[in-house]
Amino acid sequence: MVLAATTDMSLDAHLVDYAIVGLYFAFVLGIGIAARRAVSSSLDFFLSGRSLPAWVTGLAFISANLGAIEVMGMSANGAQYGMATMHYFWVGAIPAMVFLGIVMMPFYYGSRARSVPEFMLMRFGTGAHLVNAISLVVAQVLIAGLNLYLLASILEALLGWALWVSIVAAAAVVLTYTALGGLSAAIYNEVLQFFVIVAALLPLTLVGLHKVGGWGGLVDAVSADAGAEQMSSWPGSEFTGLDPFWSVVGLVFGLGFVQSFGYWTTNFVEVQRAMAADSLSAGRRAPIIGAYPKMLVPFIVVIPGMIAAVLVPELAAFKAGNTAEAGGVDYNDTLVLLIRDLLPNGMLGVALAGLLAAFMAGMAANISAFNTVFSYDIWQTYIVKGRPDKYYLEVGRVVTVIATVIAIGTAFIASNYTNLMDYLQTLFSFFNAPLFAVFIVGLFWKKTSPTAAWMGLVLGTSAAVLLFIFNETGVYTLPGQGGAFVQAGAAFVVGALVCFLVTPFTTSRDPAELQGLVWSETATQLGDEPGTPVWQSAVKLGTGVMVLTIILNFVFA
């Protein structure tokens, strides 16, 4: 994201705005220090002692994802494509989150695995575990660098600090609270961040709607500027670049199944939040409780983007293809431009705090996932075994520092990329899609052998990388996200096929060892115990959010 040099993006912050931002940072660090006092074992540090109530882990579950990509990327997509962006939420996220809560969490939580790779270790043994752990820490530190870069580029644009000063300052704050308090501090801050982000974006949306003349005014203005189809989410042809029938098919199976199920059910950053719950019931409910606010998030992220595209003169000019009047802005600047134009001092400070919160949320989530996987799955499993718990707690703290330093390095790498969203989607296609394939085959087919699993991971990732190289070198050409989607699809198919083809020629594990890890060997109840109240029932809550999401899809179709 390169903020425009020619358009004045500075936000004219006053003392009151700095005070509001400063207060937020004081709270963030305060939580780190307070959480430090409560940390007494490595389980506390990495999984918050499995003691968090479901609503806290549920909000943290979506907050970990409500980072830079979500807030800046989705408002940018809203400005560019209109209502079709809603698919990322209503087709992309909600069904996968409900699936994770109802079907997957009994295995994750019930196995007492402390991380997704550790579950792979229990199910498939060391080969798949090592491949998965290494690819996960590499991916986390690369994504942490992206988040850090985005955070620093906001500081640079708003406060006028040099980029490297901003990067180091931002890293220092995130490091301080994650190193002090571990996952508890990260999760508590994520919950706080969620409310600060809402406090920033909800008033912005309301003022924007007021100014554009309410919902009817927005419909008229967007229809006049960009055509009426931008006001309906389906079939989203402009968004996918496909004709209406294949666009619907592509959205449901491509985005809705492979991409989203792969992302939400195996992405440790999110799953770690649900693993920190205080009971299996709370762990199952975490992603489902998170799905309710997730369903509403696009209203304060996508809608402001659409409003900005009609209200902000430079952005409207850019969308109309009039680069001369656009003054160098692009869609990535959407939210900052809207804040600049609409919010007076006071709310401006809250909006700044919200943006900074969003950027830090992403980075802190990556760092805490990195140190858990590195400490447990690489260090404790393969390098230094059998030391007392205190030792691994210290390793976790040291690794947090190292991860942050590496992230500063990857932030500078990230600063060389102009399209960070494509880069990120590409990473997901490399790592999440093959993992999801192996995971799901291994879950439902007990014969899936350890050898097949690691070969599926390696070859699935290889297929995605190969297609990426083809796309980059012009063997075929697809636009950024289309390319990533094809890679994810290929990685999924190859990963699953390898599992099916290799298993017959290799040794499967004794089914008796696979209790709690494989569908057929587990007496899992998908339902709830009789008499469970609605608000404690994962199935009922999940059904509720699915029904609401389907209604939303029809209302805004």
Binding site: V16, A19, I20, L23, Y24, F27, I31, A34, R37, A38, V39, S40, S41, L43, D44, S48, G49, S51, P53, A54, V56, S184, Y188, V191, L192, F195, V196, A199, L202, P203, L206, V207, H210, K211, D278, S279, L280, S281, A282, D341, L342, L343, P344, N345, G346, M347, V350, E529, Q536
Partner: protein
């Protein structure tokens, strides 16, 4: 499974409430202070130019009032249903133990 942390009156035998370390108290404090600052800014320090910017809608005042209400809501929630943390033998469960403030 019962949601033990949300059951009030479950404080027999070594259990404590989380007190100020309850995340709801922290949210209430931050959002409440923001609301207060915004209301004061909206009432006394918002110029005509600021008002024009937000389409003659005193967003500082109204957002501030909204945040005060949200803060009060969280405060009430954490007061009415305090988080009760059991402090049994194994130290792993001391996670959210209150530090007296």
């Amino acid at each position: 499974m019962s949601d033990k942390q949300h059951t009030p009156g479950n404080d027999e035998g070594g259990a404590k409430t989380a007190g100020a370390f309850d995340i709801r108290m922290i949210i209430a404090m931050l959002i409440g202070v923001y609301g207060l600052v915004l209301v004061v800014t909206g009432l006394f320090f918002t110029s005509e130019a600021d008002l024009a910017k937000a389409d003659d809608f005193n967003i500082n005042l109204w957002a501030g009032l909204g945040m005060l209400a949200a803060g009060a809501g969280f405060l009430a929630w954490s007061r009415l249903r305090p988080i009760v943390v059991k402090t049994p033998d194994e130290p792993a469960n001391e996670q959210q133990k209150a530090h007296d403030t």
